[in-house]
Symmetry: C2
Subunit: 156 residues, 2 copies
DNA sequence: GCCTTATTGTTAACATGTTAAATAATAGCT
DNA sequence: AGCTATTATTTAACATGTTAACAATAAGGC
């Protein structure tokens, strides 16, 4: 353990937070990019983006959901979601209509074409994830997920 | 709970990769957003983005750096970096000039105005990070960083 | 019922992410 | 030297992230 340093002992780097390579934001970014790097080429072959995949996958999981709930589940900001919904609807992968009980809400539902994407992409996605899990270690993935969740909910 | 029929019931669950809330890509995204949520308001007050902060911070750490090295250290793709460099140079926070030994390379250096940003933002950033580290646990941050690094380098 | 406030979703404007292609300069080979 | 391949950076085009402002509807108090 090093003793506390007085300001005069500090070098030019003293103003800096800490080493860039050991910072949580960049480490999280690098890990995420590494993971997505395994999925992206496959998704690209199916002409779908990561976020579009998240949306239709959640619709397949949860049935009809409104935009707010989707934004929450897919972790996509409302303005991005608006554009993604427009794109997916134009491509016929999902349908969209107003909630009869609350005119503000927009209900989303997966369309048959969207279910076909699920059927095509799902198994490939699962295979990639399984391989990743095996290589990293199933137990450690669980531990990591718990640690990440705790980090994400620190301020609650 | 309603008994509305969801698409999930139409086919075997095996079509879907797994539950969305326990997936590494989203967990990493949520954790990262939670962390950045602590920094962003402060950075915004200093009229600087997260990526711009990474760039000038690395220049303060490492002195003259060429664009490729910067892209690598800051984990920013080349096209994004081109735009960020242009913006930072226009604002006078960094300088940019061609490498005399290799005309392809662009050397970046922090400018006095950039050093003032370092002096202003650095301590605030460090304080936020320290608080985060304390609340999460210093030891566990180290463990998490190691696990993330291993995940990021799985394919090497 | 009317007014104020809160909620939901969209639009706008700008910054970055992502892939592919273009440009410019160097390195390597003959 | 001259030709070709490789490398560094930029540009282009589109998708998403981010904040602020806006429009439409709903909820609640009076």
């Amino acid at each position: 353990m090093s003793r506390a340093k007085t300001p005069t002992e500090l070098g030019p780097d003293a103003l800096l937070p800490h080493n860039t390579r050991r910072s949580l934001p960049i480490a999280l970014l690098r890990a995420r990019e590494a993971v997505m790097g395994h999925f992206r080429p496959m998704l690209a072959r199916h002409e779908i983006t990561e976020q579009q995949w998240r949306v239709i996958r959640i619709l397949a999981e949860s049935g009809k959901v409104d935009a707010s709930e989707m934004a929450d589940k897919a972790f996509i900001l409302a303005p991005s979601l608006t554009r993604i919904i427009r794109s997916l609807e134009e491509r016929g992968l999902i349908t969209k209509h107003k909630d009869a009980d609350d005119g503000r809400r927009v209900l989303l539902e997966i369309a048959p074409a969207g279910m076909r994407v699920i059927a095509d992409v799902g198994p490939e996605s699962r295979a990639i994830y399984d391989q990743l899990e095996t290589r990293y270690g199933r137990e450690r993935v669980e531990v990591l997920l718990d640690m990440l969740d705790e980090l994400a909910t620190l301020g609650d």
